[in-house]
């Protein structure tokens, strides 16, 4: 089966004073992978700066702009067409129990290979006093445990926009029990890592047509490494396993590695930024 999506990303920046020189990097292009085909990219900006495609330090495609004309306002619009293929499979995959898994995870090779996604980061560290929030059950399989964690995170946090930002730590989020998809994802990743399961932060787009949480912004979810399955996506904000509604852009240790927009702007004074995302699907007939 496959589904075609049109994703539109727009951003508008307004500056109090003239900007002489600016450099932007957008990490917003859907990744090409087993389930995603990128059909077309269209990227425009209001001041006609040339688009440069470049691969960042973590190997993801970015669009970069370097302006040399003075401006006070600039807007960007990107349109991507993606074909997402998927299998209708609702069975729970069989995966090793936590006990079996722990034996594998204790080998040096495993630790070396997955160290990056087991490492605590600024946004995925939980203070020692709060590590007992969620316990894995040794007799259950990894997959069942992660589903339970997904469900627990979904219940524990209340989705509330505007109360947290990219600098809010888990310490605070755990106390206040609310946040947005980034916070759900960081909490899920942190607990997964605490239990020795490699977890990474995924940035992408979500098809909201089925009424999922995540407003009209980029979405975030988690991927964990499960032996025999590979990297499996969990979306704790919506208590679902990542599926054909999830269009992946990039992954990293946490939000810092996946920030969709980075800019180096030479100006003084204040500025305003707004982004919006829309995802429109078009169900395609089975192509087999």
């Amino acid at each position: 089966m496959s589904k075609e999506y049109t994703v539109t990303y727009t951003a508008e920046n307004t500056y109090e004073n003239w900007v002489d020189d600016a450099f932007w990097q957008f990490l917003i292009i859907p990744e090409e992978n087993e389930t995603q085909d990128l059909v077309s990219i269209d990227f425009t900006n209001s001041i006609h700066a040339i688009n440069q495609f470049s691969i960042n330090g973590y190997g993801f495609n970015t669009i970069r702009l370097h302006t040399r004309k003075k401006f006070k306002e600039i807007s960007f619009k990107a349109t991507f067409k993606i074909i997402k293929s998927f299998q209708d499979n609702t069975r729970t995959p069989s995966t090793p129990s936590m006990e079996e898994y722990s034996r594998l995870a204790s080998t040096t090779d495993f630790k070396v290979d997955f160290e990056k996604y087991l490492r605590e980061t600024r946004l995925t560290s939980i203070p020692n006093s709060k590590t007992g929030l969620f316990e894995f059950i040794p007799s259950l399989s990894i997959y069942e445990n992660l589903l339970a964690l997904n469900n627990w995170t979904y219940i524990y946090l209340q989705y509330t926009a505007g109360v947290t930002d990219v600098n809010t730590t888990l310490d605070e989020i755990i106390d206040k029990k609310h946040g947005v998809c980034q916070d759900f994802t960081h909490l899920f990743c942190a607990i997964s890592k605490l239990n020795g399961i490699p977890a990474r932060y995924v940035s992408g787009y979500l098809n909201h047509e089925s009424g999922f949480f995540g407003d009209s912004q980029m979405h975030a979810w988690a991927e964990t490494y499960i032996p025999s399955l590979g990297w499996v996506g969990f979306d704790p904000t919506n208590n679902i396993v990542a599926d054909h509604n999830h269009i992946k852009v990039s992954h990293g240790k946490d939000y810092d590695d996946c920030s969709p927009l980075k800019g180096v702007i030479y100006t003084q004074g204040s500025n305003k930024t707004s982004h919006s995302v829309s995802v429109v699907s078009q169900q395609k007939a089975a192509q087999q």
Partner: protein, 487 residues
């Protein structure tokens, strides 16, 4: 005659517990220093006072200055220069040179390994946590093949002579080691002041450093480039080593640039010139990793060039030293140097390592906490002598404070026995006489695919405060011209 010769050294006090570079155990001047001793002895102290003040103003006039961080009134200072040179005979130098090259090669292979297959970690020879917990470890460097396979193009190795007469390495500096310009300036200054002394010794030149550095930079050019355009990038004139950056650019005959002079377009690096953009192929960078590229590292960096890392990753520009080398000059990694040398080169280390206690290991932590007064405590990730505590100079309260600091974050500290750096007669302004002062030696090693070069001289740093063991310029050290003799 003998009495006159000894005139200026007549008040020289020899502490029998210290290893003196020019006197042997029986108090006789060593053969290699005898001629120099005779010549210097022919001068009066007043000559020294005059020569010394001349040398000082010559440094000021040439702008050979530096600044010390963390002081309220930032002032330009000269790195005090001592007129009495240090001599290293060729047989001793051979050991230092071979040892420095051995370490540079081993560190380079180590860096390749930890940013590729990580075999040394898989075999548990170096603990994984030690590498990945280092702030200087860069995930982004994984899988990147730097041109020629070289990471630490330039290494500065800090070596001391202990009272057992053996050389020990205190640390390897493979981020942006500085000091080489002083080696060359010290030679020039000494030649101006006392040209005659050079007639009596066959001393290796030190002025060939720049040509060797340029040769290296050109040899690691990106693929497909015929004649590479090399530049030196500096954080700017407020950096403590700005003089050196400008000196090296000038003597290599390449441009000295700041971040804002460069820009990246379609993954190529260009320099802004009045004739329009000019492509840059090799950058000798004297800014730290975290400031290189605000898109990839510290977003608030105004010193770097947006997009530089992607250009590097794509192989369109070479950075020397490579990003991420700092992980190997972490002081905790230093302690594994003997194992690292054996693992990659299958050789025994030529230069000794100082025994090091890792506070991250519970049993060693306990020893350190109980024996602070006999140890030097060092933070693993600081350079320039900042944050070092020397146990026997601490008060009870200070020891408690250090103990508390270590307990809070054991990973951050290593401890070593207090090494007794050798001493060398040094002219002291205040007392207008020669006194014993502790010295070390920083060697400068250049490593290329088919090139190994150690500057035959190096920087002898002197701790000018009596009894002080920290020789860093930022901690009030001075320096000496260092002569390596020809065979």
């Amino acid at each position: 005659m003998t009495n006159i010769k000894n005139q200026i050294f007549s008040s020289y006090q020899k502490n029998p517990d210290l290893y003196d570079e020019i006197y042997d155990d029986e108090g006789k001047v060593k053969a290699v220093y005898q001629k120099l001793f005779d010549i210097y002895g022919g001068h009066s102290i007043q000559d020294y006072v005059n020569l010394n003040s001349k040398a000082k103003s010559s440094f000021f006039n040439q702008g050979i200055t530096f600044q010390v961080y963390g002081e309220d009134n930032v002032q330009e200072k000269i790195f005090p220069f001592d007129l009495f040179p240090r001599i290293i005979d060729y047989d001793e130098w051979e050991i230092i040179e071979k040892g420095s090259i051995q370490r540079s090669k081993a560190l380079n292979l180590f860096l390749w390994d930890i940013y590729h297959d990580k075999n040394i970690l898989r075999e548990n020879i170096v603990p994984l946590e030690l590498i990945t917990s280092s702030v200087n470890y860069l995930d982004q460097m994984n899988g990147i093949d730097p041109p020629g396979g070289i990471y630490n193009h330039i290494s500065g190795t800090d070596i001391i002579k202990h009272k057992d007469g053996k050389y020990y390495v205190l640390e390897d500096n493979i981020r942006c080691p500085s000091g080489v310009s002083y080696v060359i300036c010290n030679r020039t200054a000494l030649k101006r002041a006392l040209f005659g002394v050079f007639n009596h010794y066959k001393t290796h030149t030190v002025t060939n450093y720049a040509e060797n550095l340029l040769d290296l930079l050109e040899s690691v050019k990106p693929k497909g480039v015929d004649i590479p355009n090399c530049v030196v990038i500096t954080p700017g004139m407020y950096n403590s080593a700005f003089y050196e950056h400008s000196y090296l650019a000038k003597t290599m005959g390449v441009e000295l640039v700041e971040g804002r002079d460069l820009f990246v377009e379609n993954d190529f690096v260009y320099m802004k010139t009045i004739q329009g953009p000019e492509k840059v192929d090799v950058i000798y960078r004297r800014i730290d990793d975290s400031f290189l590229d605000p898109l990839e590292f510290r977003p608030d960096s105004a010193l770097g060039v947006p997009g530089l890392f992607s250009a590097y990753k794509k192989g369109n520009v070479t950075l020397a030293n490579a990003p991420g080398t700092g992980v190997a000059d972490d002081k905790a990694v230093y302690t594994y140097m003997p194992e690292i040398i054996r693992y990659y080169l299958g050789e025994e280390p030529i230069l000794n390592n100082v025994h090091t206690y890792h506070c991250s290991r519970p049993s060693e932590l306990e020893y350190v906490l109980d024996n602070i007064k006999d140890l030097v405590i060092k933070p693993v990730d600081e350079a320039g002598g900042y944050g070092i505590s020397i146990g026997d100079s601490l008060s009870k309260e200070e020891i408690e404070k250090v103990r508390k600091q270590i307990k809070e974050c054991p990973r951050k500290y290593v401890a070593q026995p207090i090494m007794s750096l050798s001493v060398h007669p040094t002219y002291i302004d205040k007392s207008e006489s020669f006194e014993q002062r502790h010295v070390d030696l920083r060697t400068f090693t250049i490593l290329g695919e088919d090139k190994q070069f150690v500057l035959k001289g190096g920087l002898t740093r002197v701790a000018l405060k009596k009894g002080n063991l920290i020789v860093n310029s930022s901690q009030g050290g001075g320096s000496k011209d260092t002569w390596v003799l020809k065979k």
